[in-house]
Amino acid sequence: MSGLNQGDMRLSGHGLRCVRGGREVFAGLDFAAGSGEAVAVVGRNGSGKTSLLRLIAGLLVPAAGTIALEGGHSELTLAEQCHYLGHRDALKPALSVAENLTFWADFLGGELFDAVESLAKVGLDHAIHLPAGFLSAGQRRRLSLARLLTVRRPVWLLDEPTNALDVAGQDMFAGLMREHLAGGGMIVAATHAPLGIESRELRIGGVA
């Protein structure tokens, strides 16, 4: 994990306002996370948890406010230093598990970690040659997690990451997140269920 940390990093947003389809989702939102910290975004359905993650990932443009990563790589944008794990798995059923993972490793680039070891960590190591279409929902999620491990990014943006994972999978995932934080990474997770790690709570959209 040494390569991740170029000193202390700090991800912060100020006065964020998000408008989707003419409707204001939230406004005046502030948040911050330093190296080794996790933020759990909570709130009722439709309160804008996913929108916040997509704002940070650069997939949505904020109507007002700024998001910045201090101490990160100077030549890269914020989005390029983020991992985004959304509802959809970004997997191709026709390709094998290994082909899916090595594609993202080759395409996303940057600092890489061994793909086979990542698959072993998420418990998919003997499915390497199976088509991803044969995997169950939980196994597909594990394969997506392997992408987070193989391609190194300091900021993890996780949208309901424990969805479809069984109890053992959730434990495994909590371990991976702890490892990431210990290496100086940051996590912003939108979640209903407890994350399984120590985290700061960011409540949006009022009381649930």
Binding site: E80, G86, A90, L108
Partner: protein, 222 residues
Amino acid sequence: MTALAALIRRDIRIALRVGGGALIGVLFFLTVVVLMPFAVGPDLALLSRLGPAILWLGALLASLLTLDRLFMADHEDGSLDLITMSRTPLELACAAKALAHWLAAGLPLIVATPVLGLLLNLDMIATAAVALTLLAGTPALTFTGMIGAALAVTLHRGGLLMAVLVLPLSIPVLIFGVAASQAVIVGPMTFGAPFSILCALSLVSLVIGPFAAAASLRHGLD
């Protein structure tokens, strides 16, 4: 560079695997061309005069109709989000995807052209001329069609709407493609002039296509 090569490799692989649509385009091309004589009659002299036009129309429809899933599939499974976020400029990624599509679906059309030329009673030189113009012109079709494919993602609609949007844009390519092949068969024009315009159209679309598609995709994200 490895990133783009990986993207091209992946898209070609998916197109050739079970469920991929690479060869359906050729089959469509074949079917459209075979349908024509039933409409215009089996007169070989007539067919050989219409041959280049029929082949060009078939190739045009085949390469555009296979395009509408170009970005849609990646959008539906979330891959497009990751591609947008990546360190590879979205314009280059779009160009790579279009190139992969052309290799998997456009090249087979050109390979199939000689066989279809036989059915339409085109002689060797005419067939070669049509194949050459298709080789020069189909990249233009793919790269302009890509804009429509990107709009389809933005608008959440594929299929016919895309065809309606893109077909008018492909008229110049059709004009000069058919003109160049006709020039070889009947004259009176030279082959060179329309063919160089066709090549120029391809080059222009290679530049415009990726930028327009990337711009459309960026605005279409939600």
